[in-house]
Amino acid sequence: MNSLVFQATTRAVTPLLLAFSLFMLVRGHNEPGGGFIGGLLAVTAFALYALAFDARQARTLLRVSPRTLTAIGLLLATASGCMAWLAGQPFMLGLWLPVGLPAELKLGTVLLFDVGVYLVVLGAALLVLLTLSEE
C-alpha cells in the first residue's frame, strides 16, 4: 500500500504500539494485560507496518526472525519453570526476588514466564503473517 498518509501515520504509531505492548506485558500482573495481550498488541504493530510498507521492511524492523523469537520464547518460559528446581522446589513454582520495584512491580520467574508467552505469541503469529504476505 503506497499511501503516504498511511505510511507516515504508521511510522508514528508503530513505536507507540510497541511501547504500549510492553506496558501491557509488565502491568499484567495487577491490571488487565499480560504476556498474551502484550504479544498480540506487538503483532498488530508489526502487521500494521507490513501493511503500510511491506513484509520485508517489517522483518528488517523486527531484526530477529520470527522463528528465533518463538524458540527463545518457549525456552524462556520453560527455563523460568526450571529455575524452581535450582531452589529445590517443584517445577513451575514461582520464585520472587526480594527487591521491589515502583508501582507494586516485583521481579520473579513469573515475569520471565510472561515474557516467554509474549515472545511465543509474537513469533508464531508473525511467522504466519509475514510468510503469508510474502506469498
Binding site: 501491557m24 499484567g28 500482573h29 495487577n30 491490571e31 488487565p32 494485560g33 499480560g34 504476556g35 498474551f36 495481550i37 498480540l40 498488541l41 503483532v43 498488530t44 502487521a47 501493511l51 520470527p66 522463528r67 518463538t70 524458540a71 520464547g73 518457549l74 518460559a77 520453560t78 519453570g81 517445577f91 513451575m92 514461582g94 520472587w96 507494586e104 516485583k106 520473579g108 513469573v110 514466564f113 510472561d114 516467554g116 508467552v117 511465543v120 505469541v121 513469533g123 508464531a124 503469529a125 511467522l127 504466519v128 503473517l129 510468510t131 503469508l132 504476505s133 506469498e135
Partner: protein, 779 residues
C-alpha cells in the same frame, strides 16, 4: 550397578564428539568402556553358585517399581559376554569402518545397545527389565537400519522393530499379568515385580499364571527368532558386519533366551512351559539348520545357523533337567564365542574381496592366514569337534537327551539331524573361502588389519582354551550360571573325556556319526546347494515372512482407506464433521440437564439488548453476503461487539484479547482471501439449506451450553480461593493473569507450545507449497 549401565549410555552420547576429536581412533578409545566393565565383573570371579549381589534405587515407589539390579551367575556370564564381545566388536568396527564418517554414530549406537543389554541382564525388577528390553529393540532398529540410504536396510530394520516390538508388547502384558498373579498370591506390591521374589513362591495355582506364561514366552520367542517369528533375523543381515557380529550372535538374539532362563525358576515346573519351549525350540533348531544349507550369502548362512542354535537353547531350557541346563549354559557361551568370531571373519572376507557370496570366495588361506586359522578354530567349535568348547556343549546336549524318560529319541534324532547340517555349514564357511583354487575375487585380497584380526582370534582361541581346560569355565562361572537358571544348586564339572560308561559312549558314538554324515553332506553340498536354495525360497514365499508382508500391506491399505474417507481435502466437509460431532456429543447431556434459567434475571438494560441484536444481525448478514471481503468485515463487527459485551460484564482481559484477535484475524483473512479465486456461489439451494441447518444447530447447542453453565450452582470455592491467594501468594492483583502465569502456568506452557507448533506448521505448509510451485515452474 546402576552406574555400570549409565557409563556406556553416557559414552554413547559422547561418541560423535570423540569421533570429531580423535578420528578413527574413537572406537579404540571407547572400547576401554566395555573392557573396564568386564574387568569389574571379572573381579568377582570365581563366582560361588547361588551367590548374588543386589542393589535397589527407588524409582516409582507408589507402584513398587525400583531400579533393582541383581548380579548372579546368569547375569555375570551375560555381562561378561556383552562387555567382552562388545569391546572386540568396537575395536573391529574401528578398523572396518575406518574411513567412514559415520563411525562415531556406529560406536555410539553400539554403546547404547551395550548399556541397554546390560540393563536387561542386570535387572531384577520386571518393569525395569522391560524398559531396557525395549531400548535394545530401538538400538537394534537404528543399527540394522544404519545404512539408512538403502531401501532394504530400512525395510529390514522396520521388520525387526515391528516383530520384536510386538513381542515387547506381549512381554509387557505378560509381566503385568504375572505381577497381578503374584499380588493375588499374597506378595507385596514391591515383591511382586521382583523376579527373585517371584521365583521363591509357587504361582502355578493362580488363574493368570498360564496367560502370563504364554505372553512372556511369546515375547522371548520374537526376540530370539523362534519359528515362526524367525524371519527378521536373516533379513537383519543388511546391517554392517560389526553389528551382526554383536547383536545377532552374542547379545540381542540371546536376550530372549536370557529371559527364558531368568524366568525358568518361576515357570519351570509348568507343563505349558515344558512343552511349548521344547517343541518350538526343537522345530526351530531343525528347520533353521536345514534352511541354512540353502543360503549363498555368508552372513545369511551364519544367521540361519544362529536361529538353529537359539532353537536348541530354547529346547534345552524347556527340557529343564539338570543336564539340559548344564548343556544350555555351555552351548550358549560356546556359541557366543564362535559365532561372533565367524561373523567378524565374514566381514573381513567381504572387506578384503568385496563379496560375501560363498560361491565366489576360494583359495584365500595364503593371503589371509590369521583370519583363516581363527575361522577354522571357530568353525570346528561350531561343528562340535573335539577338543573345542562346542564339543563340550554338544556332548552335554546328547547326554541330556539320553537321560530323558520320554521324547528322548525324537529329540536326539532332531538334534542329530540339525547337527549334521550345522557341521556341513561350518565346513562350508571355512573350507570354501580359504581352500581350493584362488577365485577371481581373491586376487586383490589382503590380510585384515590387526584390529580386525584381534576379535576373531581371541574368541576362537578362547574356544580352544576352554575346550582343553574345561575346569576354568565351570568353576569360574558355569556352576553359578546353571544354579541361577535352574533355581536350585547345580554343580558343573566339564570334562573332555567322560570315561567308559554306556551314556558317555553312546553320546560319543552319535557325535562321531553326525560328524561323518555332516562331512559327506558337505562334500555333496556344492551340487545340492541350488536345489535346496529353491526349496528354501519356496518355503519363504509361503512362510511366515509372507504373512508378515500381508499384514503389513493390509495395515497400510486400511490406513490409506481411512485417510481417503476422512481426509477429503474439503474445508466445508471438515467444518461440518467438527460441528456435527459437537452436536452429537452435547445434545443428549444437554437435554437431560436442561438449563435452569432462574439465574437469567429479567433486568435487561436496553444497551445490552441492542448489542446482542447488532451481533446477531452481523452474523446473519455475514452468512448472506455475496463477497468474501464483506463477510470478513461483518464477522469482524460481530467479534468486536462480543468484545464490548465482555467489557460490559467486567472481563477486561477477555475483551482486550478478543479485540486483538479479531483485528489480527481480519488481517490474516484478507491476506489469504487475496490469493483465493473469485467467489462463485456454486452450491445448490438445498445444500446451502443443509449447511444453514448444521450451523444453526451447532449455534443453538453452544448457546444451550453457555446457559447450562450459567445455571450451574457450583460451589464458588475454587474461584474465591484463587482470588484470595492471588495477592499474598503470587504478588498480583489481576487474578486472570496470575492464574495464567502462576497458578496454572503448566497449562499455559502447553498452550504456548501449541501456538508455536501451529505457527511452524502453517509456515511449513506455505513454504512447501511455494517450493512445489517453483519445482513445477522449473519442469
Amino acid at each position: 550397578m546402576l552406574w555400570m549401565i549409565l557409563i556406556p549410555l553416557a559414552a554413547a552420547a559422547a561418541a560423535p564428539f570423540f569421533r570429531r576429536l580423535l578420528g578413527a581412533h574413537v572406537a579404540t578409545l571407547l572400547a576401554v568402556v566395555p573392557i573396564g566393565l568386564a574387568a569389574v565383573i571379572a573381579t568377582g570371579l570365581p563366582l560361588e553358585p547361588g551367590a548374588t549381589w543386589t542393589e535397589a534405587v527407588p524409582w516409582i515407589p507408589d507402584l513398587g517399581v525400583a531400579l533393582a539390579f541383581r548380579l548372579d551367575g546368569l547375569s555375570a556370564t551375560f555381562g561378561l559376554l556383552i562387555c567382552g564381545v562388545g569391546a572386540l566388536v568396537l575395536l573391529y568396527a574401528g578398523a572396518y569402518m575406518r574411513t567412514d564418517p559415520r563411525l562415531g554414530r556406529l560406536c555410539g549406537l553400539l554403546l547404547l545397545f551395550l548399556g541397554a543389554m546390560l540393563g536387561v541382564v542386570f535387572s531384577d525388577d520386571v518393569f525395569v527389565l522391560f524398559v531396557f528390553w525395549e531400548l535394545t529393540s530401538i538400538a537394534s532398529y537404528l543399527l540394522i537400519g544404519f545404512k539408512h540410504d538403502k531401501h532394504d536396510a530400512r525395510d529390514a530394520a522396520r521388520q525387526a522393530l515391528l516383530v520384536t516390538g510386538a513381542g515387547g508388547l506381549t512381554l509387557l502384558a505378560g509381566l503385568v499379568l504375572l505381577t497381578i498373579a503374584a499380588s493375588q498370591a499374597g506378595l507385596s506390591m514391591e515383591q511382586a515385580s521382583r523376579i527373585s521374589a517371584l521365583a521363591a513362591v509357587d504361582l502355578s495355582g493362580q488363574a493368570l499364571f498360564v496367560p502370563a506364561l504364554l505372553l512372556i514366552v511369546l515375547g522371548a520367542f520374537s526376540k530370539s527368532a523362534q519359528m515362526p517369528l524367525h524371519f527378521w533375523l536373516p533379513n537383519a543381515m543388511t546391517a554392517p558386519t560389526p553389528v551382526s557380529a554383536y547383536l545377532h550372535s552374542a547379545t540381542m538374539v540371546k536376550a530372549g533366551v536370557f529371559l527364558l532362563a531368568r524366568f525358568n525358576p518361576v515357570f519351570g515346573e509348568s507343563l505349558w512351559w515344558h512343552l511349548l519351549l521344547t517343541a518350538t525350540g526343537a522345530v526351530t533348531m531343525l528347520v533353521a539348520a536345514a534352511m541354512a544349507a540353502g543360503q549363498t550369502d555368508l552372513k545369511r548362512i551364519l544367521a540361519y545357523t544362529t536361529v538353529s542354535v537359539l532353537g536348541t537353547l530354547t529346547m534345552l531350557i524347556g527340557v529343564g533337567t539338570e543336564l539340559a541346563i548344564k548343556a544350555a549354559v555351555v552351548y550358549l557361551v560356546a556359541h557366543a564365542c564362535y559365532k561372533a568370531a565367524l561373523f567378524m571373519i565374514a566381514g573381513s572376507l567381504e572387506h578384503a574381496t568385496g563379496t560375501r557370496d560363498i560361491r565366489q570366495l576360494s583359495g584365500l588361506f595364503r593371503t589371509m592366514p590369521v583370519t583363516a586359522i581363527s575361522g577354522i578354530l571357530a568353525a570346528l567349535s561350531m561343528a562340535g569337534a573335539p577338543p573345542l568348547f562346542g564339543f563340550l556343549g554338544k556332548e552335554l546336549l546328547l547326554k541330556a537327551k539320553l537321560d530323558l524318560e520320554y521324547l528322548g529319541v525324537v529329540l536326539i534324532l532332531a538334534a542329530s539331524l540339525a547337527n549334521v547340517f550345522l557341521i556341513a555349514m561350518a565346513l562350508v564357511v571355512v573350507v570354501w573361502p580359504f581352500f581350493g583354487r584362488r577365485s577371481p575375487a581373491a586376487h586383490s585380497a589382503h590380510e585384515a588389519p590387526l584390529l580386525m584380526l584381534l576379535g576373531p582370534l581371541l574368541l576362537a582361541v578362547a574356544g580352544l582354551f576352554v575346550g582343553l581346560i574345561p575346569g576354568t569355565f565351570d568353576s569360574a562361572l558355569g556352576s553359578a550360571m546353571a544354579t541361577a537358571i535352574g533355581g536350585r544348586p547345580i554343580a558343573m564339572e566339564l570334562k573332555l573325556w567322560h570315561g567308559v560308561s554306556p551314556v558317555a559312549l553312546t553320546a560319543l558314538g552319535i557325535s562321531v556319526v553326525t560328524l561323518i554324515i555332516g562331512f559327506v553332506l558337505f562334500l555333496r553340498l556344492r551340487d545340492w546347494l541350488a536345489h535346496i536354495a529353491v526349496a528354501v525360497a519356496r518355503i519363504g514365499r509361503r512362510g511366515p515372512a509372507r504373512i508378515y508382508e500381508l499384514i503389513f500391506a493390509g495395515v497400510l491399505a486400511s490406513a490409506d482407506g481411512v485417510t481417503r474417507l476422512t481426509q477429503t481435502g474439503s474445508l466445508r466437509q471438515y467444518v461440518r464433521v467438527v460441528l456435527l460431532a459437537l452436536v452429537v456429543t452435547c445434545l443428549y447431556p444437554l437435554i437431560r440437564s436442561f438449563p435452569v434459567l432462574d439465574r437469567l434475571s429479567s433486568s435487561w438494560q436496553w444497551h445490552e439488548v441492542l448489542l446482542v441484536l447488532l451481533t446477531f444481525v452481523g452474523a446473519v448478514a455475514a452468512s448472506f453476503s455475496r463477497s468474501r471481503l464483506s463477510a470478513v468485515a461483518l464477522l469482524g463487527i460481530t467479534g468486536l461487539l462480543i468484545a464490548v459485551l465482555f467489557a460490559l460484564f467486567s472481563a477486561p482481559d477477555l475483551a482486550i484479547t478478543q479485540i486483538m484477535v479479531e483485528a489480527l484475524t481480519v488481517i490474516l483473512l484478507v491476506l489469504v482471501l487475496y490469493r483465493l479465486p473469485e467467489f462463485t456461489p456454486l452450491r445448490t439451494r438445498l445444500a446451502r439449506l443443509g449447511d444453514a441447518l448444521v450451523a444453526a444447530t451447532a449455534g443453538a447447542i453452544m448457546a444451550g451450553l453457555v446457559l447450562a453453565t450459567a445455571g450451574l450452582h457450583l460451589p464458588p470455592v475454587v474461584s474465591e480461593q484463587l482470588a484470595r491467594m492471588s495477592k499474598p501468594e503470587a504478588y498480583g492483583r489481576n487474578v486472570v493473569n496470575v492464574i495464567l502465569v502462576d497458578f496454572r502456568a503448566l497449562d499455559t506452557l502447553g498452550e504456548i507450545t501449541v501456538v508455536a507448533v501451529a505457527g511452524l506448521g502453517v509456515y511449513a505448509l506455505i513454504k512447501l507449497r511455494r517450493r512445489r510451485r517453483a519445482e513445477g515452474d522449473a519442469s
